[in-house]
């Protein structure tokens, strides 16, 4: 009896392609093989290796909520060889998917708390998964607040969902664009995410903060959270490192003795503080 090949991807059909922002697309994927879909389970925070046969594999989080059983979504920006090949794919095409890999956002531990989600730019996708997951289990949590910013109005992803979230009574959404990125009819805030966060003066009492964004945004957001009394254990983030195998063997994503693909990508700020700065 041969062991199952851990490098073998599921075949996924692209059901829908959405252009989120310049260079950014979302794929809604479904398993070609029904029995794969039936067996597939994942939790918020996990990621996969998405591939175009002949081009290679690329790492993105699973951006749809685990409570949605009928599809899997990913959002990516066209940057290199594999993402460019993916961007050329259309609805009906088949791509590969390996996963789910990695650890999860510990929603169980956050029961009864306020959730403060802070995301920047292309980092909303990993958060979107856990935000939807939390919204679908709404009564387990107290207040849910989402602060999301991008460089310009055009760069905001999941615009239709931002609309939806903005209209919901059971959550608070604050959107912002960098100074100079606003359009004449922009109704949201103008300012860098850390600046807007400071203006919001979030309460740290019984609150968990989840931060995802480009390194520069994270660098200035953590001090703001600490200023308002958030302890490093109460701040969660995701790390990104170059990955290949996704299962802790190829050695590429390791940071000290930790593998971002196995022990992450979700880490608390406290955990980051004990890691060597190699990410």
């Amino acid at each position: 009896m041969s062991l199952s090949n851990i490098y073998n991807p599921y075949l996924m059909r692209i059901e829908k392609v959405t252009e989120e922002a310049p260079g950014v697309k979302t794929f809604r994927l479904n398993f070609v093989d029904d029995s794969d879909r039936e067996k597939f389970i994942f939790k918020a925070g996990q990621f996969g290796e998405y591939s175009v046969f002949g081009e290679g594999e690329s790492t993105f989080c699973i951006a749809s909520s685990p409570t949605r059983k009928d599809y899997v979504e990913c959002t990516f920006r066209e940057t290199g060889r594999v993402t460019s090949a993916l961007a050329r794919k259309e609805a009906g095409d088949i791509i590969g998917f390996r996963g789910p890999y990695g650890n999860i956002f510990p929603l169980e531990e956050w029961k009864g708390k306020n959730l403060l989600f802070i995301a920047g730019g292309i980092a909303l996708p990993p958060m979107r998964c856990v935000i939807w997951n939390a919204l679908e289990l709404r009564d387990r949590f107290k207040d849910i607040t989402v602060l999301y910013g991008a460089r310009t109005v055009e760069d905001l992803v999941y615009k239709y969902e931002l609309d939806e979230w903005g209209k919901r009574a059971d959550m608070k959404l604050v959107t912002t664009v960098d100074p100079g990125g606003e359009t004449s009819d922009w109704k949201g805030k103008v300012g860098f995410v850390p600046t807007v966060l400071e203006q919001m003066a979030p309460s740290s009492s019984d609150t968990v903060a989840i931060v995802c964004g480009p390194p520069v945004m994270i660098k200035f957001t953590f001090p703001v959270l600490e200023k308002f009394g958030f302890t490093p254990e109460a701040i969660y983030t995701t790390l990104e490192n170059k990955m290949k195998c996704g299962v802790g063997k190829c050695g590429r994503c390791n940071v000290g003795s930790v593998y971002v693909c196995k022990d992450g990508p979700v880490f608390t700020y406290r955990q980051l503080q004990s890691l060597p700065p190699e990410y």
Partner: protein
């Protein structure tokens, strides 16, 4: 050695050099590259017949460049490499101090003219074993040569030690690192190995100084330098161009003269 130690001490103490790039005692019977920054350490420098590694490869290393102006203990292949690097706009003779040690005396080659003069008067003596190997291969038919290289290159595992040891492979992003398109297969199967070494031979044709550092670096004993040496000799024959002789020489394969022969164009 006294003269070399004395010179190194003077250069460091006067601040004319920030680092002396030379040879020192290595593991067992070996010598290894050393980077002397304190006058107290100059006695670590040595020079004997084992000192053949082309140290000019370290002139482009960022950590070494940060140390200030280098003074390099230059065996003839190093001088030729420096001339070639100057002709390729990678170095200027005033940015380094080239030291030659002959008959117990140390001299500086301070400018392009002195570097060229030294290079011209010190043709490289090719090790007799390597010369024999070249003659053997040249005596083979094309099919036999292909079989020979198939056999040799089957041991290659794409460690790129040959590239790392070669001072003329200074591209910050090598052709093998490009993936749009993937010019050279990453894998070290037969095709991938041939692609890499053919590419390298073509990129070094007309530039290879024949220092032999690539062959010495290869951990699995492939006489890889023979390819680049042969490619360079063909350039010499066809275009009358020998690398490492002139600081203002045009690049052999990317410059064009109206008089260039066209006999091979049908």
């Amino acid at each position: 050695m006294q003269a070399l130690h004395q010179k190194a001490k003077e250069l460091l103490e006067s601040g004319r050099a920030g680092v002396i790039v030379g040879y020192g005692k290595g593991s067992g019977d070996r010598v290894r590259p050393v980077f002397i920054r304190n006058a107290a350490d100059v006695t670590k420098l040595m020079l004997d017949s084992r000192c053949r590694q082309n140290l000019s490869v370290y002139l482009s290393k960022p950590e070494i460049r940060k140390m200030g102006r280098p003074a390099i203990v230059a065996v003839p292949s190093v001088v030729k490499t420096i001339v070639q690097l100057i002709s390729e706009n990678q170095l200027k003779s005033e940015d380094l101090i080239t030291l030659i040690v002959e008959n117990g005396a140390v001299a500086e080659l301070p400018d392009d003219a002195s570097l060229e003069a030294y290079s011209a008067s010190h043709p490289l003596v090719f090790p007799p074993t390597a010369q024999k190997e070249i003659e053997t291969i040249e005596g083979m038919s094309l099919q036999q040569r292909f079989k020979y290289w198939q056999d040799e290159l089957s041991r290659c595992f794409k460690c790129y030690a040959c590239r790392a040891a070669c001072p003329l492979c200074y591209c910050e992003r090598c052709i093998t690192d490009d993936n749009r398109p993937q010019w050279v297969c990453v894998a070290s199967h037969a095709q991938g190995n041939f692609e890499w070494h053919m590419n390298r031979a073509m990129h070094l044709a007309g530039r290879c100084i024949e220092c032999g550092s690539c062959t010495a670096a290869c951990p699995v004993g492939i006489p890889i330098g023979l390819l680049t040496i042969e490619a360079t000799r063909i350039v010499e024959q066809e275009f009358g161009y020998e690398p490492g002789l002139h600081c203002d020489a045009p690049s052999a394969l990317s410059s064009f003269k109206v008089e260039d022969k066209e006999s091979f164009i049908a």
